[in-house]
Structures are given as C-alpha cells and as structure tokens.
C-alpha cells in the first residue's frame, strides 16, 4: 500500500519532469559588440575603377598595421548612396549607415548643413590646410573639418590627337582656345573624320557647370543661398555655347555612364572636356595609347574672368557619427589624411590625382604619361588646379540643375534665352525658399 503509493509518486514526478523539460528553450544570445574600438567598419563608394580601387589600396595599407580591423567596402551607384543616405539620415536612425561614405563635393554641403550631427568632426584627425584650398569649402562647416578631401576635379580637354591631325590641327593649337573655336575645330573634325566632337548627356549639365566655374560663377551667388541665374552672364554664354554645339551637329548623345565611356573607348568622339578622373577610363582602352592629349580647358568667349581651368566633380570621404567612428576616423587619418606615399601608389596604379598637397612633391606627380604621348599630365593638372576659381557650391546645386535641365530643353526648342533663364530663376527661387 505504502510502497505502491511511493511508486506512483515517483512515476508522477518523473513524468511531469519529462513533460516540463521539453518546454525548455534556448535563450537567445544577447547582443554583443560593446563600446570598445570597433573591429569592423563599412565604407560606401561608387566607381570600382577609381574610388573603390583607391579604397582597396588604403585598406591593404591599413590592414598591414591593424590586422584586427575588418574593412568592408561596399559599392553602390552614386544615386543609390544619395538615396540611402537621405533615407537613413531622414529617418533619424543610424542603423544601416556606413562608417565612411564618399560624397561628391557639390552635394557635401547639402548633407553637412542638414545633418551636421550625423557626421563626425575630423578636425582633430586631419588638417584642412593639408589639402587643396578649393576643397575646404565643400568639406568643412562652421570651421570644423568634416570631410577628408579626396580626388581633384580639375578639368582638362581630353582630345584625340590623331583625329586632330586628320583635321589639320595639333595639340599645340588647343592651348589657348575658347568654346567657339572649339566648336569650329569640331566641325572640321566631323567633316574630315565623321566623328563627333563631344558626347553629351541631356540630363547632366556638367559642361555648363565647368564653363561657369571657369569664369568664377555658379548657379548660386557667393552666399551659397541665392540663385544667380537670370542675371548670370557666364551662364547665359554657356547656354548659348551649348546650343551652338547642338546646332553645329558636333555632339554625340549618351544617357548613362557606360555609354559615355563606351563612346570614348570606341573612338566615336574626338574630345572630352571633363574632370581628370576620366583618365583611368580612357587609359583602360590600351589600343588608344598615344592617341590622346590633354589641353587646357577652353574659356568662355568674351568673358574676361574665364580662365583655362575649372573643376568637375571630385569627392571627399566623410565619417558618419555611428558606432565605430573612432576606428573609421583613424583609418581615414592614417591613409587618405596623411599618407603621401600612398597617394603616389594611387596615382601610378589607378590614376587618382589627390588633393593632398604633400603628395604633389612626390616623383609620381612629375612623371610623364606614355598613354598621353609623353605629356606630364599630372603636373599640368596640378598647375591648372591652382587656377581654379573658387566658388561656393552652396547646398542647392543639383536642385537648380534639375530646373536648368528642363529649361535647357526649352531653350534648345527655341525659347528665348532671357526668358529661359528668367523662368529658371523664378522656379529656383520658389523651390529653394
């Protein structure tokens, strides 16, 4: 009686124990990663041949000294980066944002002014004065250095010397020309070779921008806030040149980057007036070695202020104010912020012309380029860099450009130039304010 009761009890205990046991669950692992120095940083950039390649060099350099830090380089199209940044910053969360991001100089102020707190002040890590002077405008705010200036956007007129010669010109003839003379040459080339002079994207007014910057002018007046369109003489001239180019039928059209590069590499166009960052894409087509030369940028005809130098694009690195910022800042400061030797590598291997002043004294900067017919292109670019008129890009460059793109079409379709610029001014003022 007693025994069977005890047995029953034991069985019950055992069964309940077994039953309840199956309900035990593994506890989810708690989150890790403390506040110590992060071991992993993420960097966003575009253009594998240029920016990404430069990053890889920096990564290798940094990894040698800091083997425990993992650097993830993520490639996105520039538009994706802008979109992701806007989305992330707007939503106020730092989740999903990288540690370092590449931002084009035109857009930099837009981000810095809107989301100042989301960027990490690098004043203690790097000195703005170590870089080309015109870079300090986009990369700093309120006296604080936020960006690590990267590539120079100094422009040049890349020309096919073989086509020039066929049309009866030499590279020397292009040393001091204005855009009207450029179009005339283009007509000749088209006549002799059937090749277009230039290739243009109707949605990108980069050419206009370089033209007006060469004259020290911008879409915005010097305060960086007020649209300066209707009364902008340089802009008006640039529009007229653009239309003249179209009417002279010397322009090829492309719609995206690959088509642009394809046009250069296939030999469809005779010249490209653009930033020096195009060099790697041009030299990528080895069969054209020796057939290219770089002339100073043409000036706006009849504009005294216009010089043979301008800027297009160019971008800088920004450290985001997220976990791991110290590591990211350290990475940036020890590579792009101070390593002039690395800039030599970047130049020789990739063709990156940096804006780090100390690097300009390196021997790679004075070497002649075989691809460009023995021209010392880097020192040429360096000389032109010094002449670039400094302008305030402000925060609305692309907002205004979007308006101008539409108005440009109207202008090409026959609308009066003053009306075009006046309408654009009105639209810009209403949009910006």
């Amino acid at each position: 009686m007693k025994k069977s009761f005890v047995l029953l009890l034991i069985c019950m205990i055992m069964l309940t124990a077994c039953g309840s046991n199956s309900n035990t669950k593994n506890n989810a692992e708690a989150g890790t990663t403390g506040a110590e120095k992060a071991k992993e940083i993420t960097i966003w950039a575009w253009d594998p041949a240029f920016n990404i390649a430069a990053l890889e060099v920096a990564k290798a350099k940094y990894a040698a000294a800091n083997p425990d830090v993992k650097i993830n380089i993520v490639e996105y199209a520039q538009s994706d980066i802008i979109q992701k940044l806007n989305t992330g910053l707007n939503s106020g969360t730092t989740k999903g944002l990288p540690n370092v991001v590449l931002i084009e100089d035109y857009r930099a102020q837009g981000f810095l002014q809107s989301y100042k707190d989301s960027f990490y002040d690098l004043s203690s890590s790097i000195k703005g004065a170590d870089f080309a002077d015109y870079k300090s405008g986009p990369t700093s705010l309120d006296g604080k250095q936020y960006g690590v200036p990267f590539d120079s956007g100094v422009t040049g007129l890349y020309v096919r010397t073989d086509y020039l010669e066929q049309a009866g010109y030499k590279l020397a003839d292009l040393q001091d020309i204005d855009w009207k003379e450029y179009i005339e040459i283009g007509k000749k080339i088209k006549e002799k070779t059937g090749k277009a002079l230039i290739t243009l994207d109707p949605n990108d007014l980069g050419l206009i921008r370089t033209m007006i910057q060469s004259a020290g002018s911008w879409y915005l007046s010097e305060d960086g806030q007020t649209p300066d369109i209707a009364s902008n003489v340089a802009l008006k001239e640039a529009f007229e040149i653009y239309k003249e180019m179209m009417e002279a039928d010397v322009a090829n059209v492309h719609a995206d980057w690959s088509q642009f590069v394809a046009a250069l590499n296939s030999g469809d166009v005779a010249s490209v007036p653009t930033g020096n960052w195009i060099s790697p894409s041009i030299t990528a087509e080895a069969s054209q070695s020796g057939k290219w030369g770089i002339a100073p940028y043409p000036t706006l005809p009849g504009n005294d202020k216009s010089v043979h130098a301008s800027n297009l694009g160019g971008s800088s690195w920004y450290v985001m104010n997220v976990d791991g910022k110290e590591t990211a800042a350290d990475f940036m400061a020890t590579t792009f912020g101070s390593d002039s030797e690395m800039y030599q590598t970047l130049l020789t291997d990739i063709g990156v012309i940096g804006t780090f002043k100390a690097a300009a004294s390196g021997e790679a900067y004075s070497q002649a380029s075989e691809f460009f017919g023995g021209q010392k292109i880097v020192s040429d670019f360096a000389a032109w860099t010094e002449q670039i008129p400094s302008v305030n890009y402000g925060v609305h460059t692309y907002a205004i450009e979007d308006i101008l793109i539409v108005e440009m079409q109207n202008y090409l379709n026959g609308k009066d130039i003053d009306k075009v610029l006046g309408d654009a001014q009105a639209q810009a003022e209403s949009q910006i304010k």
């Binding site: 005890v6 124990a17 669950k25 179209m246 009417e247 322009a251 719609a255 690959s258 090409l412």
Partner: protein, 593 residues
C-alpha cells in the same frame, strides 16, 4: 564466499524487488522521455509546417507585389511612344537626338518610379542599337553581348510573356560574380506585332532575397527554383546557381498532389520541404527546414536525457532506501526466527518496521508466549504430580517402622531404661511431625540434621550401635534450606544395605558449600557396590523403611526442582564403601511449594 551467500539469502527478497524496480523505473523513464520528445517533435513539426506555409504565403505576397510593380513598369514602357521612338528612330542631327534622349530619360524616370520601392535597374535596348540603363551596376555586359545572350533570345522566343530569368554576372569588366534575377519582355508594336526592343528589369539576388530574408533562420532556408531546377535565389549563398533537380522534383510533387509538406533527405540532412508555385514568375518557392537544427533549438534531447537520468537516479536512491527499509524488518524477522533452536522458546522478536511486520512480530511473540505458557503449565503439572506422588509416599509411613520402633520402646520400658524410651518416643514424634507436614516445604539444614539425628537415634535403639553415624556440618551451611527427606533415604539405605557382610562400620554425613552449591555427602565404609551398579536403587523392601521414598525418587525430585545441574551421584567400590553426593542449590528462603 559462504558468508556472502548466507547474507544474500537473507537479502534475496530485497535484491529481487530492487532489480525489478530498477528495471521498471529505467524503462518508464526511457519510455516517458522518448514519448515526450517524440510528441513534442511531432507537434513542433505540425505547427512548424503550418506556420511555414503561412510564411510562404507571405513571401508569395511579397513576390506578387514586386511582380505587380514590374508589370506596371513593363506596361508603361510598352505604352510609351517616347521610348518607342528612342528605340526605333535612326540617328539624325545632334539637337534631335539630344531631344529624344532627354524625353526618353524623363520617361524612364517616371517608369522607374513604379519600381522605386525595389533596388532594380531598368534597361531598354532597341533594334536601332540604342540602349539605356538606369543602373550601370547590373547586367555588366556590352549591348552586343546582351543582344545575343540567352536572356534576350529566350525573351524574343516568347515575346508576349514577361519572363524571369536567372543571370550570374561573368563579365570581364568586373570581377564581381553578382547573381541577378532579370525580368524581361519584348517591346512590341501592338498593331503590327513588330518587336522593336527589349526591356530588362534586373534585381540583384541579394535584393531579391530580401523578399523572404526576414522569414528565414538557421535550419529554415528558402530557395527559389526556376522551371529548370536551378536555384535562382536562396538565403544560403552557396546554393545559388546550383542545379537542384531533387528539390524541383519535391516541389512538383507537393504542387501536383496538394501536399502540405514532404520529409526528404537533402544533401545528407533530414529535411522538411514545403513548396509553392509562383505562377507569375514560373518559379518554385521551396522552404527547407532542417529537422535537426530546427528541433535542436526546440527540444534539447541531451538536456532531456540528463534530467531523466537525474530523476531516475534519485528515484533509484529513494526506491533503494524504501525497499530496503521494507525488507529489512523481514530480514530481521527471518534472522531472529532462524535463531530459535530446540527447546528454546524464549527468543522474542523485537517488533519494528511497517505495520504488517509489526503484526507478524506480535503474532509470533504471542505464539511464543502461549507456547512458553503451555510448557510452564506442563512443567508445573508434572511437578504437582510428582509432589503429589511424593506426598503420598511420604505419608505412607511404614507401619513396620512404627511397629519395630514401638516394639523397641516397649522393650526399653520393660528393661527399665525409661530415660532411653522417652528419648526414642521423642525422636519418633519429631520424625513423624516432620514427615507428616507438607512435603513441599523446605527446611533448614539444621532442622534436617535434627531429623537425621532422630532417625539415627531410633535405629541405634533398634539395632544397636554397631554402625556409627557422624555428622560433619559446615557452620556456614546451617541456614540453607533443603527439601525435606532428602538425605534420610541415603542414610537408611546405608543402614540396611551397606553392612550386610561387615558387621560394623560408620556412616559420615557431610554438608558443605562448594562452587555455589550445597553439597551433602553420605559416605559409608560398608560392603560397597560393584561400580557397574551405581544407579540408585528404588525402594524395594519396604519393611525396614521409614517412608516409601526411595533414593531414585530423591534424584528425580532434585532434578525436577532445581534443574539438570543438580542431583545425586554415587561412587562405590566393593568392600570399600559407598559415597553418595547430593548437589543442591544454595537456598536461603524457605519455600512453601
């Protein structure tokens, strides 16, 4: 070894019970945990497959909404005259081309907005050789390559269908091996049916799998298969692009038979496979659940086993203790009972243990009580009987003795020895007084001595004094009690039998104390007996005797009264005499019975 066996014999019940218990507990534990684990597994599988089919529906919905955006974008592209003219028109002057390009890009931006929610790239390619791509990261090949690529050829083969194809970047331009899903459709002139271009909407696999990425976990994988059985998307990157005909087979089986799920062996792992068909994509969505991993998270068999063993161990200890406690009383009982030997009924059992054993012990003790009681009664009765016998014998005072004594008194009176006659009468009175009183009474040695002296006196009167009697009494023995008429029969015997041939001699009566016993010796130097006939003679000739009590009776009586260690011993040699030794306990208190 034998000791061990002996011990084992007493514990055999315990060992048997314990072994049975061990086996049952272990069996119950194993069965219970196995059943529990099995049941929870089955339950888990059921719920898992239900949840996962819901999950699959959710994933499907995600795919459908993506598909819908693609369809919208495709339709808008097909309807757009701007795009059509971009893709059909021949190169003319710069201005016109620029305008076409501009309008096209404006249009494409609008179309792009249909799919803005997704990270897709749109590419259009026309028969005039023009193309436009919104995302230069996707479809990294030249237009010519693309034109002759399987992607395009498949699309053109079925121009009315929006098809989804898998494409793995293998371009020399980039080292990336990015996998992509390409939705493509031929752009067709609706009235004539002429194909003027192709539309490609590409999404990188890593973005494609965000449609289901939030539903997967370790051991719960999703793979998207195309009709050919190629894995076009999966959260497990290593499966990407692989041919998985077996999975396709399972998916088709599930689809055609309307099964909920199938249990399969995939890549050496026991898996549950759920599948559904994405008709708009012509893809199969396959959900692979690794039983081991999924269940491993749910049921920790090792833990179950561990806890069960712990419980079994505890149970065994408890069972051991309890069954030992239960059987110990029995073992004890058995041991105690086995100690009972012949004629020893005084081994009472210590009553311990559970109720049953207590009852048993009580019953046994009661039985012993009864038995002892009975034996006591029996002994008592026998004693009574013997006493009665003795009393009868004692009271049978031999009339011859009286006659002879009285005749002797008469003779003495006649002789004029008046003094002696009075003494003889006194002795006779004393003897009769002693003999006629209660036979079971004990008397002191002193009193007995008086009696003996009276008896000897009478005999001397009757038969003369040729046999002398001497008494040697140790002074420390005079106060001890002895049964009545213990020594008298031996002196009588010596008087009448020891001196048949010899005419004179002596009889010594010695009473002393030795080793806790009272020793009474009657020693004569008479004829003696053959050593072979030393047993005590019974009372034969009654003529001269005082009472009917014989020597044999005395011995039996002593044994009856005091036990085996007491009694009468005889040592005799012919012509030397006889020594009789009576051993009695030292008794200081008179007893009535």
């Amino acid at each position: 070894m034998r000791g061990f066996w002996e011990r084992y014999k007493f514990h055999s019940l315990f060992i048997k019970i314990f072994i049975v218990m061990v086996f049952s507990i272990v069996a119950v534990a194993i069965a219970a945990s196995w059943t529990t684990v099995r049941m929870s597994e089955r339950l888990f599988m059921e719920t898992f497959s239900i949840t996962n089919s819901k999950v699959i529906n959710q994933i499907k919905a995600n795919f459908e909404s993506f598909h819908y955006s693609i369809v919208t974008a495709t339709n808008n592209t097909g309807l757009s005259g701007t795009i059509k003219s971009f893709l059909t028109e021949e190169d003319s002057n710069s201005l016109r081309v620029l305008r076409t390009y501009y309008n096209m890009t404006t249009q494409m931006k609008k179309i792009q907005s249909n799919v803005d929610a997704y990270q897709v790239g749109i590419k259009i390619m026309g028969k005039n050789g023009r193309s436009f791509s919104t995302n230069t990261n996707n479809l990294l090949m030249t237009d010519n390559e693309l034109r002759n690529h399987k992607l395009t050829l498949n699309t053109l083969a079925e121009p009315k269908r929006l098809m989804y194809q898998f494409y793995q970047e293998s371009s020399t331009v980039s080292s990336k091996q990015e996998a992509e899903i390409v939705a493509s459709k031929a752009l067709m002139e609706r009235t004539t049916g002429d194909i003027y271009g192709t539309l490609y909407i590409t999404i990188q696999e890593k973005n494609f799998h965000t449609f289901y990425a939030s539903f997967v976990s370790t051991g719960n994988d999703v793979a998207i298969l195309n009709k050919e059985g190629q894995i076009v998307s999966s959260n497990r990157a290593e499966l990407l692009g692989q041919q998985a005909d077996d999975l396709l087979g399972y998916a088709q089986k599930i689809e055609s038979k309307g099964l909920d799920y199938v249990n399969v062996d995939f890549k050496g792992k026991d898996m549950i496979v759920l599948a559904d068909y994405l008709s708009s994509y012509d893809f199969y969505i396959v959900n692979l659940i690794d039983k081991k991993t999924a269940l491993g998270q749910m049921v920790d068999s090792k833990m179950v086993a561990l806890i069960c063993s712990a419980i079994v161990l505890v149970a065994l200890v408890v069972v051991f203790l309890i069954s030992r406690r239960l059987t110990r009383s029995l073992t004890l009982l058995t041991r105690q009972m086995s100690k009972i030997t012949e004629r020893n009924f005084h081994n009472y059992i210590t009553v311990t243990g559970s109720f049953e054993f207590q009852e048993l012990g009580h019953a046994y003790n009661y039985m012993l009580d009864e038995l002892n009681d009975y034996v006591d009664k029996l002994v008592h009765t026998q004693k009574e009987q013997r006493n009665a016998e003795l009393a009868a014998l004692q009271h049978q005072i031999n009339p011859h003795f009286l006659y002879n004594t009285l005749a002797s008194v008469n003779f003495l009176v006649q002789q004029g020895s008046k003094e002696k006659a009075v003494q003889t009468i006194h002795a006779l009175i004393s003897m009769l007084q002693n003999a006629l009183s209660n036979v079971s009474e004990t008397i002191t040695v002193m009193q007995e001595l008086e009696n003996l002296k009276s008896y000897v006196f009478i005999n001397h009167v009757r038969y003369g004094e040729r046999i002398r009697v001497n008494f040697f009494i140790s002074p420390d023995c005079t106060e001890f009690y002895v049964p009545k008429l213990i020594i008298q029969p031996f002196i009588e015997n010596a008087f009448f039998h020891a001196f048949n041939r010899k005419t004179e001699g002596y009889i010594h009566v010695l009473i002393s104390q030795d080793a806790g016993s009272l020793i009474c010796e009657v020693v004569d130097n008479g004829d003696g007996m053959d050593n072979g006939h030393t047993e005590l003679p019974g009372a034969e000739s009654k003529r001269q005797l005082f009472t009917g009590i014989g020597m044999k009776n005395v011995h039996d009586r002593i044994i009856l009264l005091y036990g085996e260690e007491y009694g009468v011993t005889v040592v005799s040699n012919i012509n030397e005499g006889t020594a009789i030794k009576i051993r009695l306990p030292l008794i200081l208190v008179s007893s009535q019975n």
